[in-house]
Amino acid sequence: MDALTLFGIFILLPLVGALLSYFGRKYAPIIALIFVAITGIFLYVWYGNFGSYTVDIGVKLNLTFDITTWFFMLMINTVIFSSLLFAVSADLKNAGGFSTLMLLGFTGANGVLLSRDFLSLYLFWELMSWSVYVLILRTSGEYARRYLLFGVLSAYFIIMGIGIIYYYTGSFLYEDALSGVIPYYAWAWILVFLILGFGVKMAIIPLHVWAPYAYSSEQPFVSFLSGGLSKLGTFGIYMSMYSIAGVGILDSFGTFRGVSLLGYPFALLGAITAFVGTILAIFQDDIRKLLAYSSIGQLGYVMVGLGLGTSLALGGALFHAFNHAFFKSLLFLGAGAVIYRTGKYKISEMGGLGYRMPFTFLFVLFAIFGLAGIPLTSGFISKWMLYEAAIEKKFVIIAPLMLIASVGAFLYSYRILYGIFLGGLKEEHKKVKEAPAPMLAAMFILMLPLLIFSIVPGWILGWINDVLTNTGLKPIDYTQFTYYSSIGGANMATFWIAFMVLFFVAVAIFIMKRARVVNQYDNYFAGEAPSSVALHAAHNYYKPLKDTWAPMLKYSVDRAYEKFSKFFVDGFYEIKKIYTGNPQDYAAYLGIAFLIFLIIGWWLL
């Protein structure tokens, strides 16, 4: 494998695919799917075939293909594959444009992961950023605008970080940054800028306001955005903190119980994000917004891990990012399947669809298990690692915030389950069919890793361990079925055996008697006729909680931004008055300018 092969397969091939699939009309997602599958195959084949390469397209793009790249690419490849598979039968408008932009985003993501210098990082980052923008534009210009402003903000934060490094090193290469020429106070700025920049993509509070809007776009895309692309933020922070800067530099800012003082505020920010995102998710009635806030919350957990920076925390962060990629994509696709069949977004307008769409329900249920951290999925293990990482370092603010946020996750998870899949089936949904086969296949693909890595966490922990050691960190403590922290550990084999046995005990008691299935309307309403009762109690589901939180909920970051921007726009109108439209004024400007130039010229002399 040489530079051009790598570049060709992971960058050029998707680009070609993007170009071709634009003209694919209805079959565009299939064409895109083929291209993604090819890169996926190469990703599989080239595992272990790692190295660094340089491609010259006028500027030198330095690429590296290592286990970190591979790990993240695996995530993104799977997620986009299933998203496109879902899109095959989703009857999108202008499917050609959709597939093109998806592949452009995919190219950008691959590029970001592969890059070894800041120029290519920034180039591909922006490529990814605007293709997402145009994808959101397909749904709503306003949402897209919000996204783009924050996307650009993120890019400019990153550019500030890159720029400071460039000032000291005069080079874009990652490894030059470590040559020791950068003083540690400059590192503080660099890292803060980079973390904030990448943090926008992870929707860290208070940079999260784009997410609920962006995530309200077409579901196959949002599943890729939330599941796949937001992981680039994770990757970026991981890379900039632990690969570019490294633990030595992080610790040079002083440590708080073994955690860098630079990382700790971000861990705290992550915990707050987890908490706030969860609380806000509880109150959403729009399924897309709910999932968006949930996504914000879950990525807050990842941020905690990245901030804490112990091996366990980082392993947990990487694992949680991995899990989140799968379960959140799965949730978005599940929501997409439901929306595709019913055409509704509001949770309270659905209900009972689990009986009509049993497979979708099962997949979503599994994703919810992952989201809520039920030990039946690998979602638990990553959360476990993050908790233990915070607890073993005795962080008494971060840990409770994370723990209570995960309790909050139960609340909104149940809102999804009950509001959409359980409860009363509406009259107009009586004829709703199960989602088409490609959608189910897409969801199934995403479900598998959650199950497999719950039974055998050793496999994925092996990869994560490779990533950590490749970055130069201590490995985590695990075996095939078990994983440990310094204060505890768990054995998934025992868990699964015990669960299976006890489940069969329960089944044995259960099947002693047959049960008769009755109509869903045959419910106890104090003898009242079902037609006169609103069967589905999902409207304003957590109203009592909302009432109690009302004093808090009146503060909104969203509105703060609006006020902020309004203040500035008013200023712009003031500035505009300079251009009076009067040529006499303009001529006067010219004269004044000449004088000023002259004075400055003389002064400089």
Partner: protein
């Protein structure tokens, strides 16, 4: 429903015996408070008579209940609710009708919208005569019912199942529509 078409005593099997013993000792009841009879229930429940001694506790839904109390007159409109609730109960289930109204209409015997005999519409296992029956009578009825269950005589639910069509026909003579 003049003659009792079923054997008055359910044939004894060991398993059935245990089941009946359990049923009798754990009667969960739902009381359908149609009329004044409901007023007699609080003394029965509370410390004066304390029906929980016999394992009888009030339940909120018919799905969990074994015993339905119809405590007073039954208007045609109410009957529909009673039937629904009764059908939502799970076998074996028992009905106790309170006072004279469900027996023969009581003081409402000539009212246009009060049914005269509850037994025509759902099978009643036990009537408590009186207008109103005193709590002592209610306690007595419970004990009588427990005895009946033990002896296999309280088999209204089997009757309802066997003659479902006739019951339904009787009910539909009263109701114009079922679904409102």
């Amino acid at each position: 429903m003049n003659e009792n078409p079923l054997p008055s005593v359910i044939p004894d099997k060991e398993w059935k015996k245990i089941q009946r013993m359990l049923s009798k000792r754990s009667l969960w009841m739902i009381h359908f408070c149609t009329g004044c009879g409901a007023m007699e229930m609080p003394p029965v429940m509370t410390s004066r008579y304390d029906m929980e001694r016999f394992g009888i506790i009030p339940m909120a839904t018919p799905r969990q209940a074994d015993l339905m109390l119809v405590t007073g007159y039954v208007a045609t409109k109410t009957l529909k609710r009673i039937v629904r609730v009764y059908e939502q109960m799970q076998d074996p289930k028992y009905v106790i009708a309170f006072g004279s109204c469900p027996i023969n209409g009581g003081i409402y015997w000539d009212s246009y919208n009060i049914i005269k005999r509850l037994d025509k519409y759902i099978p009643v296992d036990l009537y408590i005569a009186g207008c109103m029956p005193r709590p002592e009578a209610v306690m007595d009825a419970f004990l009588k019912l427990m005895k009946d269950i033990d002896e296999g005589k309280a088999n209204g639910w089997m009757r309802y199942r066997k003659y479902y069509d006739q019951y339904k026909r009787n009910q539909m003579r009263i109701f114009k529509r079922w679904d409102e």
